[in-house]
Homo-oligomer: 121 residues x 2
């Protein structure tokens, strides 16, 4: 589909890593895309992922309503990771936090400490 991508063998599937950020540089989540998920994302303008646990295409927000509208797309130098700048509706994390990255390592333990918050700016 797109040139310059390096699909990786992840859990036995041909996938690429996808990072979603908001336009204020807050990282919302990382997940995976197969070719179908990437194609759907490009076609619709909304983030689609491949769920390695459910083994199927997954439109972000299809259950929660927390859709991610694509604004810009970047890739890294070796092409195995895509970065999507998105407009996040609601929160990204199914645990109710704005970002999935809300566990910080303190004294060898993971404790809730949000590095990224919805700053609405």
């Amino acid at each position: 589909m797109l040139e310059g991508l390096k699909w990786r063998n992840i859990e036995g599937k041909r996938l690429i890593i996808a990072i979603a950020c908001d336009k204020n540089k807050n990282i919302l989540m990382t997940a995976f895309m197969d070719e179908e998920a990437l194609r759907k994302t490009l076609e619709t303008g909304y983030m689609h992922y491949y769920s390695t646990s459910r083994k199927k295409l997954w439109k972000k927000g299809e259950e929660s309503g927390n859709y991610q509208k694509v604004l810009e797309i970047y890739k890294d130098c070796d092409g195995d990771c895509l970065l999507f700048i998105v407009d996040q509706k609601g929160v990204a994390c199914h645990e109710g936090y704005y970002s999935c990255f809300h566990y910080k390592l303190k004294n060898g333990k993971w404790v809730v400490d949000e590095i990224y918050k919805d700053d609405h700016s």
Copy 2:
């Protein structure tokens, strides 16, 4: 080693995704860690990765001098991705750019357009 991590089968190895950001939220790079790379990172305070192409442990900066000193560590909700806030010496990308994410999708083509720059703030 650390609880709550979800190691994935990536290219036939048991790996976790590692994102390195600077303290201004700029994403520098993504790569992989095996347990040894994570242990070395925790022990030394400097980023170590597992190279899937060279199939070996790799200390970031060992050839370029562009080391990454670890400041903070986060994980995401499902534990398959670690986020390291680092102090980046020099640039992160072997192509000479501050961040590895310097290709933007424009009209179906990847063109150099740096979303993250060293803002020294």
